[in-house]
Amino acid sequence: MNLDKEKKDILKEIANIGAGNAATAFSTMVDQKIDITVPRIELMPIEDLPEITGDQEDYISCTLINFEGEISGKILLVLEMQVVEKVLHLLFREGELPEDEIQNSALRELGNILSGAYLKAINIFSNLNLSQGLPAVAYDMAGAVLSSSVIDFNQSDDEIILLETEFIISDEKLELYYFFIPEEESIDIFFQHLMGDNLD
């Protein structure tokens, strides 16, 4: 796979627009100001994915959403365990947290809403039609979760493109990792749509 500066800039723009929209939706849900970091674009061997958040044995939560349509891929929302609890407190506002299944449900819904906002922004920007699948959630070692998240990609290449944004809930300094991982053939479709005849 080959990514020159121009293509990287396009992907950065997409991540920025998507994440900006998702942050607005998130902010409304929790009634807090949400900052987003400058998106990071990385072309990496699939084998390196389990280490992106740090230690492979860190306990994390990950919400996974598949999207498909004219392009397909995955969205991952990754939170360290101590952040999960704080985010849940924000979502449920006050009092004690409800039982586990309702917590899981809230995390799926959070993933759902953030992804919906992200994909909608991409749709407006690129005019590509996208639909998102049902969110699924896993809590476990980062390595086990992240390695399993993209393993069903049917790529000829062994590299993936990762668009990473961090959401920071300002008052709480909580960090949420957000990964947008398009499938390989989708990348070309992206560029065809956005660069038209300039594609080399």
């Binding site: 699939i46 084998e47 994915l49 389990p50 492979q56 044995e57 306990y59 990950c62 996974l64 449900s105 799926r108 049902l134 969110p135 699924a136 959630v137 896993a138 476990d140 070692m141 980062a142 390595g143 086990a144 979760v145 992240l146 390695s147 399993s148 998240s149 393993i151 069903d152 062994d158």
Partner: protein, 169 residues
Amino acid sequence: MITLISVEQKEERKTIVKMGDWAVEQEDSQLVILGLGSCIGVALYDDFTKIGGLAHVMLPKSKGKKKAEAKYADTAVPFLLEKMIEKGAKRRRLKAKIVGGAGMFKTEGGQSVMQIGKKNIEAVKEVLKNQKIRIVGSDLAKDYGRSMYFHLTDGKVRVTAFNKENITI
């Protein structure tokens, strides 16, 4: 006459085997996989020479790919066998222990979304059967991640997971 015997505690060398990778070592070594989800750790051991090999398998079939042999169940096992035999292991003495193949992600209602763990388990079992290597220990499937520590001094594999008792197979 007094003979003094100094007993030296040998430090085990530790090799971490990443996704799609493999390693072969002998004695005083530990081969480790951290955070196995739907992937499978295939450990082969020759208890006479104490040669052990570990492959971190990601997918069932290679579809004829020539590189990254350890990544796919169908190529990983013959490849690991070859590397171990080169180092001096004997095929007839090799036994297997396999760990992993979980279904990590669940949707509302607790359904597992990806069946890749299950397919990996089937593929690894089949290729070991074809190679006539007996599986003498396993910790497979379910819905949680595992780390495995394969000790080449005795061939034991320790498996750890969050909120679970450690087990040794």
